[in-house]
Amino acid sequence: MTFVKVIKSHAIVPQSKIIRLQRVLFLHLIHLKMSNKEWTEENLLNGILQGGNERQAAIRVLYNDSGLKRMVAAFVSKNKGNEADGQDMFHEGIIVLDHNIREGKFRGEAPIKGYLYSICRFLWMNQMRKQSHTDSVAEMPVSSEADTQSPEVILVTEERKAVLNSLLSELGERCQQIMELWKLSYSMEEIAEKLGFSSPDMAKKAKYRCHVSLLQMIQNNPNLQQLLKH
């Protein structure tokens, strides 16, 4: 191993360690900035609904919740999964939570983290059911921890996902970005700034053209339409 030797009171500090420490300090500063805001249940919910950077920050707070992550991992490992499965379920759960909040399916009636946990449980049980080719989850060993409520989760088949992804490829990267930012409640001003349009009006026109292209793509392919309905 190569070290840069810095002679200061006979201390020897490896350069790689200095770089790592700098990165840690930098990330801690970012987290400190983020943590200046108190992430109450209400703030998490509003952050996701607000979209843009607030949504990103709220999702990061949930992502960083090591206690909840451990709970999900423990549930998954008790139910025939491993650590990586637990992490995947935690991530997939956040994706569903984000979607459900934006679609108004979750309005904060229950604690947000309890709701996320129940989504993760549901997703894992569903995956196990698919793997075991059984029709009932009753045969599956289930943790004794009770769900606070049943999550509303729309399960998307792999076939449907493939169709959606092929439409996205056809739509093109630029249109994907525009449509995604629009769906995440970014204003036309923000879209113009982020994607380099000369004005919000140009961004609006681009969104319009992209959306019409997408609708035409779906309409022009009856097989895709049929599959998307199921």
Binding site: F3, K5, K17, R60, G172, R174, K205, C210, L214
Partner: protein, 266 residues
């Protein structure tokens, strides 16, 4: 179906931004107008496609955060086994190394400044378009083949006239503007090239958009307008988008433009 007829109202309906009377009227129309019902069904499917894009990006975001967390973990190491040497020896060695590096650095900068000029960067990245963009099974079937042929024969005046006469409402407008941009670029008419590539981007033809964006970047370089805000924004967008077809090239160009050696370029 003419989506243009419905899309604005569908946006408002889906976003819940209609007033109560507007929503009520819209729902009555939904009952009576089968085409509007079909338009709404297609609109819902388009939302599912966009949601898939959001999901995909969130997964990428998680991977990126996981990577950040991994690299930020301080490695627990014991005291390294290094030989302690005196401060004077270190200073002397560093001074010698610095002198050598300084001389080598100036030589390197001189050599490289030549390859970092706008002209060199443009020449290293620019590619003349071929016939692969043309529509139809054979190039001659494409409605702009006549202009493309004039372009490839370097008959730029004919090519420009031809491409300019294709209106924005025609299907090959994006291609025509793309070739017009190249034609103007060949004639060093940078202002016109920027305008044409901009039009090609705005036309939003998936076969053309990313190519036009990259050529727009190169036109700014050829025109020595790398300090323009529009150029910086566009290059930064391309270099920040891993899925863009020209991501690697944009990243490399951004690196070269920001390099220390660029300061020595006249």
């Amino acid at each position: 179906m003419n989506h243009e007829l419905y899309i604005e109202r569908l946006d408002q309906y889906a976003a819940g931004s209609m007033t109560d009377p507007e929503r009520a009227a819209f729902e009555v129309e939904l009952q009576e107008n089968p085409e509007l019902r079909e338009a709404l069904a297609l609109y819902r499917e388009s939302e599912a496609v966009i949601e898939q894009s959001i999901e995909n990006n969130l997964r990428l975001q998680f991977q990126s955060w996981a990577e950040e967390d991994r690299t930020a973990q301080p490695v627990a190491t014991g005291r390294p086994e290094g030989k302690v040497i005196s401060l004077r020896t270190v200073v002397t060695r560093w001074a010698v190394a610095a002198s050598v590096l300084l001389v080598a650095g100036f030589f390197f900068l001189y050599q490289n400044s030549q390859s970092l000029s706008d002209t060199a960067l443009y020449a290293a990245n620019y590619e003349v378009p071929d016939g692969s963009l043309l529509r139809g099974d054979t190039a001659s079937e494409d409605p702009i083949s006549q202009g493309a042929e004039a372009f490839s024969n370097k008959n730029y005046a004919v090519a420009r006239t031809f491409f300019n006469q294709i209106p924005p409402t025609d299907a090959p407008y994006a291609e025509a503007q793309f070739f017009l941009g190249h034609t103007a670029l060949q004639q060093q008419q940078y202002h016109e090239a920027i305008s044409a590539f901009g039009n090609a981007v705005a036309a939003n033809d998936i076969r053309i958009t990313e190519k036009a964006e990259w050529n727009l970047v190169l036109t700014y370089v050829a025109a020595s307008r790398t300090e323009d805000g529009a150029f910086k924004t566009l290059l930064s967008a391309l270099a920040g988008d891993v899925n863009h077809s020209y991501y690697e090239q944009a990243k490399a160009l951004e690196g070269k433009l920001g390099s220390f050696g660029r300061r020595f370029v006249e």
